[in-house]
């Protein structure tokens, strides 16, 4: 019976119902997209860095796990000192640079020889290794997404590069240029952002980390084997704050829209609430009616939000084909829970007001 009444009620005011549902849908979409985008970027980066095949990564003091965000470069001579450490097989210095032309990409400035030693070399789909100063390598996903072919000219960092080769994805970045070129472009002569290290045997990783830490106290020295597990937003304080504020913002939207919508609803239906009370409906019955109606609106909004999230993801991927947006079951649940709980909180005050209305005053309401 309540179900029937609620359905009738929400259909009775189709515009308001629609607006409320859309607001809840936006709330859900915002959460799923922000979380999906950041966790997608993180896991993508993590996977690619793991994919380099190095055992150890050395960064300057207090560098972020999400290394692309921390430019602070180190003198390149450190690489020679690292190479002399026992059981270190190869050291590859890499200079990182963000490119924001046509979406966000990380560019690795590499020395093809040492990078090859550490990573086992690129698998070439087409073209050849970096040779000239204006050569650039792109990975197969980038090539596919941007329709880039060997021999094309690629405009990055304000320069025209010549696409020398297309390589298998998963080696840290999607774009590679010679380190010397990147050093020139970014004014970071003789600097590196990170050193990737390969040990003689993987089992020696722990020991080598100990030696490096002794040599370079305060530097960030991390094993790469479980790098993925480090790449979570909680390890990135700034990012976590950003995600949390977006989630709160989304929840606030849902809360306020439901509050307003249910508030106007109960004012508009004052006389009906009086009728319910004259029929002997208890306060809890009235509260249940309001909360059930809220739930129905939220559920509709959640379904819409799920659909919109996948829609937004498709749109994003159409524009930025190299992006990853992770929509996980856990976050679908969390976003739905957030919408429902936010909705209930928003409906609490109107429901309380409604349940306390004096029946005679309510019946006399015009």
């Amino acid at each position: 019976m309540i179900k029937h009444m609620i359905l009738r009620n929400i259909l009775y005011r189709p515009v308001r119902t629609l607006i409320t549902i859309i607001a809840v849908g936006v709330e859900v979409t915002l959460v799923l997209t922000v979380v999906g985008l950041t966790s997608g970027m993180l896991s993508d980066t993590a996977k690619r860095i793991e994919g380099i095949g190095a055992d150890i990564m050395v960064q300057p003091p207090s560098a972020s796990v999400f290394m692309a965000f921390s430019g602070a470069p180190m003198p390149i001579e450190i690489g020679q000192r690292l190479a002399q450490i026992k059981n270190v097989q190869a050291v590859a210095p890499v200079l990182l640079q963000f490119n924001s032309t046509n979406g966000l990409d990380i560019i690795y400035g590499i020395d093809p020889v040492t990078f090859g030693q550490v990573s086992g070399g690129f698998v070439f789909h087409a073209g050849h290794e970096l040779q000239a100063a204006d050569d650039i390598l792109v990975d197969d996903w980038y090539a596919k997404g941007r329709k880039v072919e060997v021999g094309d000219t690629l405009h990055v960092l304000g320069h025209d590069f010549h696409v020398a080769g297309i390589v298998e994805h998963g080696k840290g970045a999607r774009l590679f240029v010679l380190m010397s070129t990147l050093q020139d472009l970014s004014g970071a002569r003789d600097k590196a952002s990170v050193f990737f290290i390969r040990c003689d045997k993987p089992e020696q990783t722990e020991k080598v980390i100990g030696l490096i830490s002794a040599l370079l106290p305060h530097y960030e020295v991390r094993p790469l084997r479980d790098y993925m597990s480090l790449m979570t937003s909680s390890n990135l304080p700034g990012l976590k704050t950003f995600i949390d504020s977006m989630i709160w913002l989304a929840a606030a939207i849902g809360f306020l829209v439901i509050l307003l919508s249910m508030y106007t609803t109960i004012i508009e239906r004052t006389r009906e609430i009086g009728v319910l009370k004259s029929l002997g409906a208890s306060r809890s019955y009235v509260v249940r009616v309001i909360l059930s109606e809220t739930t129905a609106l939220c559920v509709a909004g959640i379904v819409l939000g799920f659909g919109m999230s996948y829609g937004v993801r498709m749109l994003f991927l159409a524009v930025f084909p190299t992006l990853t947006i992770l929509i996980t079951p856990i976050w679908l649940l969390k976003a739905a829970g957030l919408a429902i709980v936010g909705g209930w909180l928003g409906a609490t005050y109107p429901a309380w007001l409604a349940s306390r209305k004096d029946p005679i005053e309510a019946l006399a309401y015009e």
Binding site: M1, I2, H4, M5, R8, N9, L11, Y12, R271, E272, G274, V275, L276, K277, S278, L279, G280, A281, S282, R283, Y285, P359, I360, L363
Partner: protein, 236 residues
């Protein structure tokens, strides 16, 4: 149901003792009821008349448990309303009282069937299709059940409201000017139905009206003035 027994006539179904209702309007106290003593017996159809503002609606609200008495006692089917809190009066309304209003007060979003079923749902004893059929048949609503209030005439709306009021077999039906918004033909129809409910089902009814012809449908007419019942002569 059925004709009330002689035994049940001895104990009034509704009794008020020195009933007062005082409204506080700003710093001013307005006494709407000033010590009403009233006995209404099972099976009676009582009409209440009196000038505007004499306290008729207030009386109905207090004896129906919608409002609290300021002083005195109201006994409804043996329960002392004045000792009950909000929750207690809610329960009493749910199980013992059926209200009919001048403005029908149907829920606009529900069809006739939904409006009647809502009362059953609030009552909570599940859906009794037999009672539903009897009541809707008697009130001539069988063909109109799937219509919303906006698709029904005033007379039909009031018949739905009456069906809603009696669907849970209340001890007493309290009607506040039920024909106040109806034309003569529909008024006669509704009044006839109330009389039929009273006669055939033994339904106890208290009805407020301004119209002496309407009042004559009752088995007794009460006259009120300035918050008091001024006579209680049985009509015949």
């Amino acid at each position: 149901m059925g004709v009330p027994s002689v035994g049940s006539k001895l104990e009034p179904i509704l009794k008020t003792e020195n009933l007062w209702k005082v409204f506080r309007a700003g710093s001013l106290d307005v006494a709407a009821l000033r010590g009403i003593n009233l006995d209404i017996f099972a099976g009676e159809f009582v009409s209440v008349m009196g000038p505007s503002g004499c306290g008729k609606s207030t009386l109905l609200h207090v004896i129906g448990g919608l409002a609290r008495a300021s002083r005195g006692r109201v006994l409804l089917d043996g329960n002392d309303l004045t000792s009950l809190g909000d929750a207690g009066r809610t329960l009493l309304r749910r199980h013992k009282v059926g209200f009919v209003f001048q403005r029908f007060n149907l829920l606009p979003t529900l069809d006739a069937r939904g409006n009647i079923a809502l009362a059953q749902h609030i009552h909570g004893d599940g859906f009794d299709p037999h009672r539903f059929d009897v009541v809707t048949q008697m009130l001539g609503l069988r063909e109109r059940l799937e219509h919303r209030p906006s698709e029904l005439s005033g007379g039909e709306q009031q018949r739905v409201a009456i069906a809603r009021a009696i669907i849970n077999e209340p001890k007493i039906v309290l009607a506040d000017e039920p024909t106040g918004n109806l034309d003569t033909k529909n008024s006669e129809n509704v009044l006839g139905l109330l009389r039929q409910l009273n006669k055939d089902l033994g339904q106890t009814i208290v009805m407020i009206t301004h119209n002496p012809e309407a009042a004559a449908y009752g088995t007794r007419v009460l006259h009120m003035r300035d918050g008091l019942v001024v006579d209680g002569a049985a009509a015949n």
